[in-house]
């Protein structure tokens, strides 16, 4: 309760300060935000009640962001979000930029990983749901799968060095290297605990940072087209005793022709688990490579405006998990899920949009009712300022 009050006060102050500030403040401060209300309807579940396998019904994601340029080299960003977890500081960091090629970021931020998280705001995405590799809380059967490969967003405390360099007018090279607290889980956990990783206390659980980095190359192909190729990785320990490791690696490619966007990414997580208690597992523990699982995820997405106010989107994504599972898990040693999504984005008014999409899931595992297919409808309103 106290946390909620403190968060509310911070949000009110964040909103009030820019509004009440004298006009001169507008020279070096920007204030922005968005809010999305989404309704998920799952007709394939009995009584269209999918609460046992996902968060259907209404969900809201809202955020406000203040960016301040303190000097030519120093800037600060604070972004507060409200979502299924309540209030969260998604950003609270300083950037000290020595030059384009060298920027030092300290505080709380989402470390540079992949292409999807660059457009981190829900208002910047045409579909209500995130791609399965980055899914957090929206996918059906999410408990069985324990979310995606790298649930987004993933704000963390730490330091990042990043920069960009243009080679003439045709190539942009970006890099980032960081140390952050990293994901968490309890002793003897069989997977990352994303709730524990993003809740009190907001401190490292094992005194060892997770390290990672990203590099990407963007080529300007013409005045209306460009292409980006990127690679990312992070590695660290997640248990209190620093015995168990996780490594997440990914590659991404995107192209833009006029207003048409084609995006694709692949991620894989290698996740170790404690094997001292064999009774916790569904399958016998293999003597070789029996102490970890691999979770792969990929998506390909096409975004095509059909008029100034209407954009059509299509996405195919999936997850594949290979490795031992908890004795209580619905998954098998090898399980997969594929999904096809078709959607539209309608601009009602500048700053107000409607998202509508249908997603069809195909699971390799049969649910208690003998089903492997699920369908979800999303309808969302998004406001931007």
């Amino acid at each position: 309760m106290n946390r909620a009050i403190v968060a509310l006060v911070v949000v009110v102050v964040s909103v009030a300060v820019p509004l009440l500030s004298p006009p001169a403040w507008a020279v070096d401060r920007t204030f922005s935000g968005s809010a999305q209300l989404d309704y998920l309807f799952v007709p394939t579940e009995k009584g269209a009640n999918a609460s046992a396998i996902g968060f259907d019904g209404f969900t809201t994601e809202a955020n406000v962001k203040v960016a301040a340029d303190i000097s030519q080299h120093l800037s600060a960003n604070v972004k507060l979000c409200y979502g299924c977890h309540g209030f969260e500081a998604d950003m609270a960091y300083f950037d000290y930029r020595v030059r384009d090629e060298l920027n030092i970021r300290v505080g709380r931020f989402s470390p540079s990983f992949g292409a999807f998280n660059v457009r981190h705001d829900p208002a910047n995405h045409g579909l209500s749901d995130k791609p399965l590799p980055y899914d957090m809380g929206r996918m059906l059967r999410r408990t069985d799968w324990n979310e995606g490969v790298l649930p987004s967003p993933f704000p963390d405390n730490g330091i990042e060095v990043n920069g960009t360099h243009w080679f003439g007018e045709w190539a942009q090279l970006d890099y980032a290297a960081y140390l952050v607290s990293g994901f968490k889980a309890s002793e003897n956990a069989l997977d990352l605990d994303f709730v524990q990783s993003r809740s009190t206390y907001y401190v490292d659980n094992n005194s060892r940072p997770t390290g990672g980095g990203r590099a990407s190359l963007t080529l300007t192909l013409s005045k209306t087209s460009d292409a980006t190729l990127g690679a990312s990785g992070m590695y660290g320990t997640f248990d209190p005793m620093n015995r168990l490791t996780y490594g997440i690696f990914g590659g991404d490619f995107s192209m833009r022709f006029g207003q048409t966007n084609l995006r694709m990414e692949y991620l894989v997580r290698r996740q170790e688990f404690d094997t001292s208690d064999a009774s916790l597992f569904k399958y016998p523990i293999a003597s070789k490579d029996g102490n970890f699982f691999l979770k792969h995820g990929a998506y390909i997405e096409l975004e095509q405006p059909v008029s100034g106010r209407v954009t059509m989107l299509g996405r195919i994504d999936g997850l594949y998990r290979d490795g031992n599972v908890a004795a209580t898990s619905e998954l098998l040693r090898r399980s997969d899920v594929g999904r096809a999504t078709f959607g539209s984005l309608f601009t009602i008014e500048r700053g107000l949009r409607v998202k509508a999409s249908t997603e069809v899931y195909k699971f390799s595992d049969v649910d208690p009712n003998g089903r492997t297919v699920e369908v979800g409808f999303h309808l969302a309103f998004v406001g931007v300022f």
């Binding site: 507008a26 020279v27 070096d28 920007t30 922005s32 007709p43 394939t44 340029d69 800037s75 384009d100 920027n103 540079s112 292409a115 660059v118 457009r119 705001d121 208002a123 910047n124 990043n162 960009t164 243009w166 007018e169 045709w170 942009q172 970006d174 980032a176 990203r214 990407s216 963007t218 300007t220 005045k223 209306t224 460009d226 980006t228 995107s254 833009r256 006029g258 207003q259 059909v306 008029s307 100034g308 106010r309 209407v310 059509m312 078709f342 539209s344 309608f346 601009t347 009602i348 008014e349 500048r350 700053g351 409607v354 509508a356 999409s357 249908t358 069809v360 369908v375 409808f377 931007v384």
Partner: protein, 130 residues
């Protein structure tokens, strides 16, 4: 009703909604056909480069009307990873934003009569020149 029927139903519903939305409302960007010929090239660079990661309403509705601030803002965007905004691109982008801000300032200083405000467009939608 099986899942293929859901997909077909969605496509039909989206098409119907798209028709309704296309007939009303206001797009994220400006109406190019209403821009002066000489300003369309600058707007094209702005619209292409500044819509890669976010919609155009972010800059157009930001309320920024200072050239100095636009310079700092565009520089910050240029340095974003994979922005695709080259140093040369900033010239036409800033030229467009200068004219756009000028129009916005004049619009605020001399608001249109109430009858004109009732419509879905405003000065910025009819072109960046007064």
């Amino acid at each position: 009703m099986r899942w293929p029927a859901y997909v077909v139903g969605t496509i039909l519903a989206c098409s119907a909604a798209a028709s309704c939305v296309s007939a009303t409302g206001r797009a994220d960007g400006l109406d190019v056909s209403k821009l002066p010929e000489a300003e369309r090239a600058d707007y094209a660079v702005f619209a292409q480069r500044c819509s890669k990661c976010h919609s155009l309403e972010r800059p157009l509705e930001s309320g920024i009307d200072s050239d100095d601030f636009w310079v700092a803002y565009v520089e910050k965007m240029r340095r974003m990873p994979s922005s695709g905004i080259s140093p040369d691109d900033t010239v036409p982008i800033l030229r467009f934003l200068h004219r756009f801000s000028e129009t916005e300032r004049q619009r605020k200083a001399h608001p249109a009569p109430a009858a004109d405000d009732a419509g879905p467009t405003r000065a910025a939608d009819t072109g960046v020149s007064p």
